[in-house]
């Protein structure tokens, strides 16, 4: 399909089984941590954020591929449930940080704080995925890139894409859970 990957130039191949185990442990760890914090309706919130992230994965499927993971890590085609739980966990820890650690704000201010925290974390994660070759962008997508890179490593558009995903997923989650 003409996908490009930075891994082709670096020659690096990710140790994918390690990736899957790390993501699962990370997701379980976040879940147990939020449970220990007595987060209200935790299971319901997790279901909603998983669905929200999955919706976005469906939409973005033609734009990138999640490659190199074990067969059992895929839900269908190149949509990986490993990344669904991984990014859902990043959203959940973002909500925790903003709601519990930075209090006394309006929801509007919270929204932008969510975006700030989420974009910071997910840009780093996305950059790692891209750099180790687990994430490939479609040719059409790379053609729309400006050519400017973030710290000389990854396209700056990753930063914008992370914020855009948050700007649409956060309202869906918040609307359905509040």
């Amino acid at each position: 399909m003409g996908f490009l990957t930075i891994a082709e130039s670096t020659g690096e191949v990710a140790s994918t089984l390690a990736t899957e185990i790390i993501v699962i442990l990370f997701a379980v760890g976040i879940y147990l941590f939020l449970m220990s914090q007595k987060t209200k309706r935790l299971n319901f919130k997790y279901i909603i954020i998983l669905l929200s992230v999955f919706l976005f994965q469906i939409m973005a499927e033609p734009m990138w591929s999640d490659i190199g993971l074990a067969d059992w890590a895929y839900l269908y085609r190149n949509v990986s449930w490993i990344f669904t739980i991984g990014f859902a966990s990043i959203f959940m820890i973002t909500f925790y940080i903003v709601d519990e650690k930075i209090k006394n704000r309006s929801e509007t201010v919270s929204f932008f704080l969510y975006l700030l925290v989420l974009t910071s974390i997910s840009t780093i994660i996305e950059s790692i995925l891209f750099s180790v070759g687990l994430r490939e962008y479609s040719t059409t997508l790379t053609q729309s890139f400006s050519g400017i890179s973030l710290l000389g490593l990854v396209p700056i558009e990753i930063l914008l894409a992370s914020a855009l995903v948050g700007a649409l997923v956060i309202p869906l989650y918040k609307y359905l859970t509040e």
Binding site: M1, G2, L55, F56, I58, M59, A60, E61, P62, M63, R77, S106, E107, T108, F111, S138, T139, T140, L141, Q143, S144, A161, L164, V165, A167, L168, V169, I170, P171, L172, K174, Y175, L176
Partner: protein, 183 residues
């Protein structure tokens, strides 16, 4: 980008589409403003939600043949953003009038279903007039089955996914800004 659809683009018809959508927006806002408070703000929120989504997914398709002034950035056409926005506003208005006692989650789902239906009809028109062309990656993932001989059948879940995110965006900001609204 090559299109599998070989419909002739007629520039005059394109300008007609642009003018029609602008007029439809003006008429809709005048009508809805008499029925609904803060309709301009609600319109702007919805427009921004659609635009965010279009910006994110711009690599999935091209909008071609419109007048230069109809484009905002690359091939993102604000004219088509108006079309999606009007779809959501009118469906919201219709659902609020026809299903007054429906719980919020029920109206949320109904709005998504109805606006998706209209959205798919809109997509068929755009593809058949040659305005909308899908990227090779979208066509590669599509099964090859088409609705009305134009739109990939996968739009049956792509369009509702889009609507779910945008309608939630609209409701979330209506609640946040406490501007009320029909839904």
């Amino acid at each position: 980008m090559a299109s599998i659809y070989k419909y002739k683009i007629i520039e005059d018809e394109m300008v007609g589409l642009e003018i029609s959508l602008i007029l439809a927006t003006i008429v809709s806002l005048i009508f809805l403003s008499k029925k609904q408070k803060n309709i301009i703000i609600i319109f702007l929120i919805t427009f921004i939600g659609v635009l965010l989504f279009e910006y994110f997914t711009q690599a999935l398709w091209e909008n071609i043949g419109l007048a230069d002034w109809a484009y905002l950035y690359l091939d993102i056409a604000w004219i088509l953003t108006l079309g999606w926005t009007l779809n959501i506003l009118w469906v919201t208005f219709f659902v609020s009038k026809q299903f007054k006692n429906m719980p919020k989650i029920g109206s949320f789902v109904t709005i998504i279903l109805l606006s998706s239906l209209l959205g798919i009809v809109g997509e068929i028109i755009l593809v058949k007039t040659g305005i909308r062309v899908y990227s090779p990656e979208v066509l590669a993932l599509a099964s090859g089955n088409l609705i009305a001989g134009a739109v990939p059948i996968e739009s049956l879940y792509y369009v509702p996914a889009f609507m779910t995110l945008v309608v939630a965006f609209k409701r979330y900001w209506q609640n946040n800004l406490r501007i009320g609204g029909e839904d």
